[in-house]
Amino acid sequence: MSDEYDNNKSYQAQSSEVMDGSTGSVNPDIDYVRPSEVGEQELYHPHSFIEKWVFCQDAKVIGVQYFLTAVFTGVVGLILSWLMRLQLGFPELAGFMTAEHYYQFVTMHGMIMVVYFLTALFLGGFGNYLIPLMVGARDMVFPYVNMLSFWMFFVAVAVLMASFFVPGGPTGAGWTLYPPQTILEGTPGAGMGILLMLISLSLFVIGFTMGGLNYMITILQARTRGMTLMRMPLTVWGIFTATVLAMLAFPALLVSAIMMTLDKVLQTSFFMPTILKAGEVLEYGGGSPILFQHLFWFFGHPEVYIVALPAFGIVSDLISVHARKNIFGYRMMVWAIVGIGALSFFVWAHHMYVSGMNPWFGFFFATTTLIIAVPTAMKVYNWILTLWRGNIRINVVMLWCLGFIVTFVNGGITGIFLGNVSVDVPLSDTYFVIAHFHMVMGIAPLMVIMGAVYHWFPLVAGKMLDEGLGKWHFWITFLGAYSIYFPMHYLGFIGVPRRYFEMYDSPYMTSAVGMNEFISIAAFIVGAAQFILIFNIIKTLKTGKKAEQNPWKANSLEWYTSTVPPEHGNFGDRLPVVHRWPYDFSVPGAKEDYIPQTTAPSEVIHTEVEKT
């Protein structure tokens, strides 16, 4: 007996083999897929312009609405970052900006980018658009609530933006909103600003819960025939796990927002200790500021993975399609996503090493933090092994994916530094931290978003984005992002503190001055480069080349809709029946280098497809 793989006997995929639990007798028909359990979903078709484009119940329209709203807030966040960099690099040009303004911009930039831009874009935007298409559903299971979800998000954004225009301006407490300073006089926006921020966050959580229930239940209970969980594209796995995290982590944010609102409005002392101000004792007393930090980071750390996991999922699909190779270790990739998701609830206090919490916690949280690096590293290896000896198309989408892998590894490695207590203590609150989290959860997911936009734009709009402009966009962004964040690591090492309005004249700062100017210039250029994409989209919509169906020769169901772009109900008269995973690329023995998920086993009987 040799344990070598028997190449003479080609594998035949038999659906009946993989249907665990199917009634005993193996059906002789290898194309057999058992009948539908729940029957057709009833759809409510729009009857007027308002029902079609404004209060629309079609998940695809809701996805685009989410996408556009999130991009709008993202542009606001980008402009705020420009203003911050102007102050840091060229304070003489930013005479109009006071320290208060600077703190407000820092706060709003952080909150907008993490919550209202990345979370909403990945889960609300890509989630809504892709989940029903990829699992083969007509729509989300509860379209009406899905619509409410978007409008709740819209109101949350409106409230957030309104805080720019109230007396005192938006809150300037830093995006973590740590009490007691957040709601004390002297912090910018401690009046109306913080109140609107807390209300907006609560609305966001409520709105997201409505959407998140839809994403989860659509994936769990409304897949098409033959679509097992282990045949779902990794995009769906990433968005699914991120949604689970959001459903369980946002409650902590909601609770801390409610408690802080009460502290602000009713002078309760949940988070407020006894405070002396100008020799006078304030009315607060006996509260626990560190409780807020625990609640906030019990939400905040899963939040990091809410942003990262959809990016992991999407990039896996993009790499597989554009390297014409099956994803390496699909099952491991799924388990890694799930494992990271589960572990992310046990690492939160690594954000609090210097907060004065119970000193024993450092050991516990450093350990769990380093454990979470294992599944993450596994994913990186699998991406690289997917590329290994693949038939790689170096197009814009692939460039973004490669950029993501490099950036993510960079950001991840600095994360290992910061996860250890003894290394974190001198580095915390320096620019090293800024560089770390911007690399790992700012730039890296953003690159995936860009890649995903270039990849799925033909599906959404029916036209191909311009490759030439795309390459300019990529290279400026990629090189520019490294020019911004690489020097920041060095700034962190020499001890430049974060959240400082001005660097002042301390002797060890002199070497930072030139570097700050360089970073600022790079930031202006990178920010401006993003408008290339917007220009590209407008130009393509007007004069772009019409996309054929399935331009990338992908296998997953979203490319096999009845029309392009897909209509309401997605798949025409009959829902697709799935026979395989979406990664059958370059299968030996097959005529084409891809086998769609809907291809029956009898059609590809002499190929060496994977058993899924």
Partner: protein, 236 residues
Amino acid sequence: MSEPKIDGFELKPGFKGMASDTASDQTMFKGVHWGKAMMWIFLLSDTFVFSCFLISYMKGRGSTPVEWPNPSEVFALEAFGVPVPLLLIALMTFVLITSSGTMAIAVKYGYEKNRKMCGWLLLATALGGLTFVGMQAYEWSKLIHEGVRPWENPFGAAQFGSFFFMITGFHGFHVSIGVIFLFIYTYKVFAGHYEKGKRGWFTKLKGDYVEIEILGLYWHFVDLVWVFIFAFFYLW
């Protein structure tokens, strides 16, 4: 409710069934209506909300060096001239459990398509919920009358009032929402919407008695939370 039957799929019991259900196509929760699965996940999320409230309460109460008021005395009520500890709370618990029981039986009759019984029991549940909210309003007004405020109280640590009003308020808010929906569904059941296949006012979806079970899940959850609040807030 009962064991579902699924064409072409063998439902195995226990953990084997969990493995085969999870590995199968179309649905993971076999025979579970999507709305019911959605309510369960929502309740899971809501459990995290209430857990965070109660954990905050534990942290707040545990770390204050000022003495915590004795709930047994604060919540005592005069009955026949004698202060009985926690009398009102005991009555509230009684009312809520009663309404939970009527709800459970309403769900049963709903599945049996016994429209009248289902409707009357839903109405009883709604009235029980209303009574509970009323008693809570009385409890609040009594405490406010005695000088307990969210920011201070005459008995001890200031956080006592803060946590009390916040947690019972949030629970009472859940009860109130539940009562509103119970009245709506009482109407729907008595009007025979499910038999006629009438569409919902907003969602435009056709209803089914499974909606009564979904509402029931929510209502039992409200009762469940009260069990924890009763133990941690009134008995600790």
